[in-house]
C-alpha cells in the first residue's frame, strides 16, 4: 500500500467544555495559497474579466486567478494538480460555500455566477455506505 502524503469560526458557541488540549490555531488559514490579487501592491491589477477563486479541501486550499470564461472543470483540475490531490473526481463535487447543490463543472465561472474572492469547497458527493446491511 502506498500511504504517501498528498500535498501540502464561527461565532463562539456557549457552554464550551473545559478542553485540556485544545490546539491553538494560527490567524492565517492553513494551507491557503494566495497568488496575490488586486490589493497586492507588488502585482498589477487583474484584468476586468479575471477573478480570484479559492477552492477549500480537507487536504489544503488553493487560490488562483481565472478568466471568467474558464469552466469550473478547469478550476477543479487546476486545484487538484496544484495540491497533488489523489481524488477520484467522479466522487467529488464543487460546492459554493453555504450551498448544498454541487456546481455544474461544464459551466463557466461567469455562468455559475461566481464573483471575485468567492470560496468553494471540493468534497465528496456521496461517501458511500454499507449497502449490504
Amino acid at each position: 500500500m502506498n500511504f504517501e502524503e498528498n500535498g501540502p469560526g464561527k461565532p463562539d458557541r456557549p457552554n464550551e467544555p473545559d478542553v485540556p488540549s485544545k490546539p491553538s490555531r494560527p490567524r492565517d488559514p492553513g494551507g491557503l495559497h494566495d497568488p496575490g490579487g488586486p490589493h497586492d501592491p507588488g502585482k498589477p491589477d487583474k484584468p476586468e474579466n479575471h477573478v480570484t477563486l479559492t477552492v477549500i479541501t480537507v487536504d489544503g486550499n488553493w487560490s488562483d486567478i481565472y478568466n471568467k470564461h474558464d469552466t469550473l472543470k478547469k478550476v477543479v483540475d487546476n486545484t487538484v494538480k496544484k495540491l497533488d490531490l489523489l481524488y477520484d473526481l467522479s466522487q467529488y463535487g464543487l460546492f459554493k460555500v453555504g450551498s448544498a447543490e454541487p456546481l455544474v463543472l461544464s459551466l463557466t465561472i461567469e455562468q455559475a455566477g461566481l464573483n471575485d474572492g468567492d470560496e468553494m469547497q471540493l468534497r465528496k458527493l456521496n461517501a458511500g455506505g454499507g449497502e449490504n446491511l
Binding site: V19, G128, G129
Partner: protein, 144 residues
C-alpha cells in the same frame, strides 16, 4: 500497521486539519481535542444547528469513530447519534451505534463486510482528512 507510522499519520493529518482555518470556518467545524490517539472535532448540523462531537480513535488504521458527550467525551447511545444516512445501530461486534461507511473501522469489522478486502479501497480513504470528509458528507444528509 506499524504503530510509529500510525502516530506519524495522526500528527501529520491533525496538523493539516487544525491549521486549515478556512475549512473549519466554512464547515462549522471546531477542533476540540488533539491528543494521540484521540482526535475530537465538533460539527454543526446545517439544518438543525445541533452540534455533535465526533471522536476518532487513531490507534490503528482503519480509524474508529464514536459520537461522544460534549462534557466528558464518553460515547453516546444511539438515540443521541445523528439519524439516517448510514448512521446505524447494532454493530455485529460491538452491538452499538456506528457509521457504516468504507474507511471507518466499524464498517470493515462488521460481519456484513468481512468478505471484503479493505485494502481494495484507495489507501487515502483511510487517512483522517478523507474520513472527516466521509463523516461530514453523511452527517449533513442525516435527518436531524
Amino acid at each position: 500497521m506499524d504503530p510509529e507510522i500510525v502516530k506519524r499519520f495522526f500528527l501529520t493529518d491533525t496538523k493539516k486539519i487544525c491549521e486549515n482555518e478556512s475549512l473549519l470556518r466554512i464547515r462549522d467545524w471546531r477542533v476540540i481535542k488533539v491528543e494521540f490517539p484521540i482526535f475530537i472535532i465538533s460539527m454543526l448540523h446545517p439544518k438543525s444547528h445541533r452540534e455533535y462531537y465526533f471522536s476518532f480513535l487513531h490507534d490503528n488504521i482503519p480509524i474508529s469513530l464514536q459520537v461522544v458527550d460534549h462534557a466528558n467525551f464518553l460515547p453516546l447511545p444511539t438515540s443521541e447519534w445523528p439519524q439516517g444516512s448510514y448512521f446505524l445501530n447494532g454493530h455485529s461486534v460491538t452491538g452499538g451505534p456506528f457509521l457504516c461507511a468504507p474507511g471507518i473501522r466499524e464498517y470493515h469489522t462488521h460481519s456484513s463486510h468481512s468478505c471484503e478486502d479493505k485494502w481494495d479501497y484507495n489507501s487515502q480513504e483511510f487517512r483522517l482528512p478523507k474520513i472527516l470528509d466521509t463523516v461530514y458528507t453523511h452527517f449533513i444528509n442525516t435527518n436531524i
